[in-house]
Symmetry: C2
DNA sequence: TAAAGCATGTAATCCGTTACATGATTTA
DNA sequence: TAAATCATGTAACGGATTACATGCTTTA
């Protein structure tokens, strides 16, 4: 007989935590920082969501908890079941696409503004995108990936660069439409 | 004295409804279809969310409700206060950027897979992006915008095309990194 | 010794999807 | 007359942010 209780489905956040723990064991605090740092442009999550989710993953046997250290710190380690769950998620399921792009939504209503206001809106978007390009390119130029993790990280960064370039060019083009 | 009750802040969905109603008066059913059609790639919302939000906007005096017609149909019209709210939103506030890109999140964990599996993942993303390009370009080529609303719609579509192109090229490049 | 940072957790609230529930009107 | 579509609403549940709450450890 199996020791596995009936399947609770794992959320996207749960899979993100499994993915991060696949790199190395970490505490909830460490994981929270990962979302604020490496994953800042990829996925957002706060500790109020992370701690309860870690408890659920542990209950489900996808991760294990070490004994509490200094300041109550608890280190979580991915279990074999967790690695399997992560792998199935990546290879057997497809990401949902429920769009929620607020900048794009706003652009849809630009026609309700004066041409000058609409232009200002798109110029601001272009400016923000150009700032992103600079930020990302600075990170990329100081980054020679060596480990597989770093290669994946560099690939995600490349997406940021290319999407930001496309966004900047689009916003400049859009601003022109209101001239 | 003012007839306005104390300010409840309007959600993004509320602003989207105001934006749609700025075009023409519509029922909740019509608005739901707008999200399924014109806004399909921009913002998602279902009727379970839309009906209560319309009730709130009406309570706040941002829209007005006509008397119920056939099948209980209720047509909502944007009020002056609603137009002001929409305008303030577009000109005085900035869109938040809380990233939730599941495809990008997954790419971040591609290193946990075999190179073949990782490549398959990115090739699939490239395929999906190329399909989007075809879909969007077909719409664009059959579309000669005349009204200001259609111009804005064409601008949003152009974003879809350019982002899809950048995504396809990125995914092809990413697949190469695992060769 | 005070401030900054490490560290965990819960509660209130809101946003969003899916399912439940109902009924009228049009069209084949 | 049956099916499709129009049309509205609520309830249950889960996802996500912010605020509340607490306390230890390191560093200036």
């Amino acid at each position: 007989m199996s020791s596995k209780s009936y399947q609770r489905s794992v959320s996207v956040l749960g899979h993100a935590l499994l993915g991060l723990l696949a790199g190395r064991p970490m505490s909830g605090y460490d994981l929270t920082r990962q979302f604020d740092e490496s994953l800042r442009h990829v996925w957002s999550a706060t500790h109020g969501q992370i701690y309860p989710e870690l408890a659920r993953l542990a209950t489900d046997g996808l991760i294990t908890v070490g004994t509490a250290g200094a300041r109550g710190r608890k280190v979580y380690t991915i279990a074999d079941a967790g690695r399997n769950e992560l792998r199935d998620w990546l290879t057997q399921t497809h990401p949902e696409n429920r769009p929620h792009s607020e900048p794009l939504l706003r652009s849809f209503f630009a026609w309700t503004l004066s041409p000058q206001e609409a232009r200002a809106y798109f110029e601001r978007r272009a400016h923000i995108a150009r700032q992103s390009i600079i930020e990302y390119e600075a990170i990329a130029s100081a980054f020679a990936p060596s480990t597989p993790e770093e290669v994946a990280s560099r690939i995600a960064l490349e997406s940021g660069i290319r999407i930001a370039r496309a966004s900047a060019e689009w916003a400049e083009w859009a601003a022109e439409q209101y001239r």
